[in-house]
């Protein structure tokens, strides 16, 4: 049962072939069995999950119509608030903090009858590409427990690959949904900026953050996308427009006549041979299916990473100023004589990990007077040039494609003390966040040299999220038919790997 797709589980629950309680219990049992080795979850909320499942079963028994994912369990990234359970963002600073309200995404999941199993591990405040920056210890990649599951949303991606949950929610600021999806052989989608609500998402960089669906199949991701997307008056940057027809696109998978651009800048030096090979083969599949493939150059993308690592820290240093030890979270050194400012500095020293401190200080530097124009100001101009490159590309093509990441999953500990090497993982995913367009990663095979998953990134113009699913579904259909099953059906048994 735990290997079923969300769509199949929902259909069986609605037809009363299996109860939502049985499905939930099976996943809770799986978590109990494998999570000591994987560590995808920071908090498992079994009791409430079973109660939510029982409520769905009762509605079905009463003959009520339920939504297309009702009764299906889900793993929620610990950066979105869910009242009644702790939200830590992977930080010591928020250890034990229980938010008094639900994020809009959380509320929509619950309204749809989706069962929330618990909260998943992540790099502290979503800063990282490996989950090694979590204050609660790293998550392990189910393909190889010595390797990283990606980040920041490594708990969400690992929970899918470990069959602990059929659905998960991630958030993507520079690749935190797509990179974990790529290295775990799962599907991850960053919707158009403004397509999903940020209300109740603990902000990293407000002009870049976007919640999105994570799943094992393209259709499951689309069904989840439809549940969480759409206008929210509680988020001032939410787009008041209809949700793109993502489910229809995922069911169709028709790419004939579609123009697909391969980004020239995302290949060559630094890209693993197996990543390039699987990427080229997947592009060949799309061509066979009737898509027209062209090379597209986006010269400003070369500067996306430096621009991003100025814009993100600048916004983060400002957003994380709210962790001042006055209203929520940790407080240390309040001995009756220390001033508020001293307590604040002592608490932030004790509560934040190394990467959070690095980024706050880079942001503080980039925004300080005398440096502002040369750093933050110039990065904002580069952001404009990147958007211009995208706009020019979309005059020629419907979507762009590239490898999602330059390499497959690296070993835990390999890059933890080399921030720049870690940042390079996000090379291909960052431009979409800077431009605010829609972007996704789909599994396209295992790299021959190490047998680890490779992801293909698809990028579509703002509000054309449906095109991502069209390409993803086409690839999924062609590749699973070649492979004789899904990529995840070949994952080693976790029990054996332990």
């Amino acid at each position: 049962m735990i290997r079923s797709t969300a769509a199949d589980l929902a259909a069986k629950i609605a037809a009363q072939e299996v109860s939502a309680v049985e499905v939930t219990q099976a996943h809770l049992d799986r978590i109990a069995a494998v999570d000591p080795a994987v560590h995808a979850f920071l908090h498992v909320d079994g009791e409430r999950a079973l109660a939510q499942a029982a409520a769905v079963d009762a509605r079905i028994t009463a003959g009520e119509q339920v939504g297309p994912l009702a009764g299906v369990p889900l793993a929620l990234k610990d950066v979105l608030t869910y009242s009644g359970a702790p939200t830590t963002c992977g930080s010591k600073f928020l250890q034990g903090w229980v938010p008094p309200y639900d994020a809009t995404v959380t509320k929509r999941l619950l309204d749809a009858g989706i069962v929330i199993l618990g909260k998943t591990n992540m790099d502290e405040f979503a800063m990282g590409s490996s989950t090694e920056n979590s204050a609660y210890g790293p998550t392990h990649n189910p393909w190889d427990l010595d390797r990283i599951p990606g980040g920041s949303g490594g708990g969400s991606s690992a929970s899918l690959a470990a069959f602990e949950a059929p659905l998960a929610i991630g958030t993507d600021t520079g690749g935190s949904i797509r990179q974990p999806a790529a290295v775990t052989g799962t599907v991850g989608v960053k919707p158009t900026y403004g397509g999903t609500s940020r209300y109740g998402l603990v902000a990293l960089a407000s002009s870049l953050d976007q919640p999105g669906p994570c799943a094992r199949t393209v259709l499951d991701a689309a069904l989840l996308h439809e549940v969480i997307a759409g206008y929210d008056p509680y988020d001032s940057t939410s787009i008041d427009a209809p949700v793109p027809a993502v489910v229809e696109a995922a069911r169709s998978g028709d790419v004939s006549g579609m123009k697909i651009g391969v980004v020239t800048e995302f290949s060559g030096e630094g890209y693993a041979p197996g990543v390039e090979q699987r990427f080229r083969e997947a592009v060949g599949q799309l061509e066979k299916l009737g898509a027209e493939i062209v090379e597209v150059s986006c010269p400003s993308f070369t500067y996306a990473m430096p621009a991003y690592y100025l814009i993100l820290p600048s916004e983060a240093s400002s957003n994380l100023a709210k962790f001042d030890s006055m209203r929520y979270g940790m407080r240390v050194g309040d001995n009756g004589s220390a001033s508020a400012e001293e307590v604040m500095a002592a608490t932030r020293e004790a509560g934040f990990g190394a990467e959070v401190k690095r980024r706050i200080m880079i942001g503080t530097y980039a925004l300080s007077s005398g440096y502002y124009d040369a750093y933050y100001g110039q990065a904002q101009k580069v952001r404009t040039l990147i958007i211009n490159d995208f706009n020019k590309a979309y005059e020629q093509v419907d979507v762009l494609v590239s490898p999602t990441t330059p390499t497959t999953a690296f070993k835990l500990g390999e890059k933890i003390d080399d921030p720049l090497a870690m940042y390079l993982n996000d090379l291909c995913t960052i431009p979409s966040n800077l431009a605010g367009n829609a972007s996704a990663s789909f599994p396209v095979g295992l790299a021959p040299e190490d047998g680890l998953p490779v992801g293909l990134q698809v990028i579509a113009p703002p509000l054309a999220d449906d095109r991502l699913y069209r390409v993803g579904a086409a690839l999924e259909r062609a590749l699973t038919s070649d492979w004789g099953g899904s990529l995840l059906s070949t994952i080693p048994e976790l029990e054996a790997a332990r």
Binding site: W97, I239, K357, Y365
Partner: protein
């Protein structure tokens, strides 16, 4: 560029993070390396380019000025490190001489 330990300590003060001596030793070369990389944005000729602060062309977004449900005082205080008389209790905010 070479960021000194003193400069990193000053940044820590601006960011309200009381860094230890060992952290300063460790962070200074790392921040220096990151700043050297991000400084590459200056290679781009962009004098006549408008900056982008946000991907959506939105200006002020307003809602109707109406009373609506919000958190109770008890809920808002529920995660506070210290509470007194239905308020956030904070350390002293004025200097000794004030």
């Amino acid at each position: 560029m070479a960021l000194s330990r003193e400069e990193v300590a000053a940044l820590g003060r601006l960011a309200r993070i009381e860094l230890s001596t060992e952290e300063l030793e460790h962070l200074a070369p790392q921040l220096d390396q990151i700043l050297e990389h991000v400084a590459r944005v200056s290679e781009v000729a962009a004098a006549d380019i408008q900056p982008t602060s946000h991907p959506l062309p939105l200006s002020n977004v307003f809602r109707a000025d109406e009373v609506r449900e919000c958190l109770t005082a008890e809920q808002a205080l529920s995660g506070a490190p210290a509470v007194e008389d239905g308020r956030f209790r904070v350390p002293r905010i004025l200097g000794e001489s004030a």
